[in-house]
Symmetry: none
Subunit: 245 residues, 2 copies
DNA sequence: GCACGTCTGTTACAGTGCGTTACAATGAAC
DNA sequence: GTTCATTGTAACGCACTGTAACAGACGTGC
């Protein structure tokens, strides 16, 4: 995996800075955030592999934030809290936290637990789509993630190849977020362990994008959904609705 | 996922029984084991989704066992220990444990942590199916593992050859889990003791899969259940219900 | 406006993976 | 020995996917 990118969420500026520098010094990329709004802002702009979330965020409630994040994305979340009581821990786990670390904590232990969570989740990368097959709707289209098939607004069914389907899943899981070719390639090549060179990908992604466009864009020459972000990558610029089965 | 199958490893019989019954009462399948040998015996015979491993196993060392298991299989492991000191925790995480629970623990918290690890969704590559013959149901079909016979939703009975039947057992024991040809071949060739050569298999599995498809797929050209995972292997993509006799 | 370099879209082509068929080898039943 | 079912091997063709090459689009500087 590339260097893991952590989002450190704490409303206490001092604590936040301390954590960020500590994590950076230990080989992570650490991004700070102080509120739910900041979390969403960061997530909409960049890749994040794990969120380290303080439960006590002033007037906001970390557990509720965790629940909302979990409902939308499949991001690993580690809760940090001064509340070590069992019922608080339970609340955290119930909303889908991956680990719950009570303050005060040994920094080395925190590192180890973060690494354990990342290790566990390395098969569902940051751009990862949830494994549960689902049906998605976007701009009149329907995508059946189980059958690898899209249905156009007019009802025409088009089968996707395995790779086209995975690409579409990655895009649907990250609407309005510009994705670089490297990120897309990494998300597509979830081999479980072997980390391929994150380097030169050739034009494989471009060609793949072109093939997907030819199937889901009315006019592939002027794509409306799968748009190019020049010198960056690609964006799926359409609202997406997920319909869990 | 099917009901998660946990392997509870503790040399203290009382503690082991308590854990097993507690976990079973909470919706898990819990299998007991008291030593590394027993762990390996169970793993060779059945699917296990997570191992709950006590660190103090009489003369054996849980951390070392954890390291060895981790080296061979990609199974989630939760360590349980009376040693809560930081250096012991670190040792556990370093050998690849997914979580470390210190005794005494709140049972509810233990449940929550087990669920959190399972949620991160590593699938067990231990493909073994139980030897006990049984009847399975999937997508309207019925499979009688004792008579090597499947019955279609419409009631049509189809006999399977020995190898087709074993293949189906392996698949049924691992629904929704992509299996490589090597894994399938290894699971088929389990003679009960000796490990067969995990080497080059030619196209034997492909042909076998094709033959099974021709018997259980309505349209073998577009398989709905026994699907291909390109460059990976095969998946049985249907929910399976096991009806023990 | 024009020239130039960079980035992107498209096409053709080659390599790989997979499904299918035919055939050979094996073994059990008679 | 004969027959039949079972199982592996070989070969062919198709679908999928990455690479290479070229042409067009875009941006920058003049």
């Amino acid at each position: 995996m590339a260097i893991p990118r952590l989002l450190v969420v704490d409303d206490d500026g001092e604590m936040r800075e301390m954590l960020v520098t500590f994590l950076q010094r230990n080989g992570f990329i650490a991004l700070p955030a102080a509120s739910e709004a900041e979390i969403l802002a960061v997530l909409s702009q960049t890749r994040v592999d794990l969120i380290l979330l303080d439960v006590m965020l002033g007037c906001e409630n970390g557990v509720q934030i965790c629940a909302r994040l979990r409902a939308e994305r499949d991001l690993p979340i580690v809760l940090v809290s001064a509340l070590s009581a069992d019922q608080h821990q339970m609340a955290g786990y119930e909303v889908g936290a991956d680990d719950y670390v009570a303050k005060p904590f040994n920094p080395e232990i925190l590192l180890a637990r973060i690494r354990a969570v990342l290790r566990r989740g390395r098969r569902s990368p940051s751009l990862g789509y949830r494994r549960t097959a689902a049906v998605w709707r976007f701009a009149g289209w329907t995508y059946d993630g189980k059958r690898d098939e899209v249905t156009s607004p007019s009802g025409y069914q088009v089968p996707l190849s395995g790779r086209e389907s995975r690409l579409l899943k990655v895009l649907l899981a990250n609407p309005h977020v510009p994705l670089t070719r490297e990120e897309i390639a990494a998300a597509l090549d979830v081999t479980g362990e072997g980390e391929a060179a994150p380097e030169a990908q050739g034009r494989a992604i471009d060609v793949l994008v072109g093939r997907l466009r030819s199937k889901i864009e009315a006019n592939p020459r002027q794509p409306q959904m799968l748009r190019t972000e020049r010198a960056v990558g690609y964006v799926f610029g359409v609202d997406v609705e997920r319909m869990d089965a």
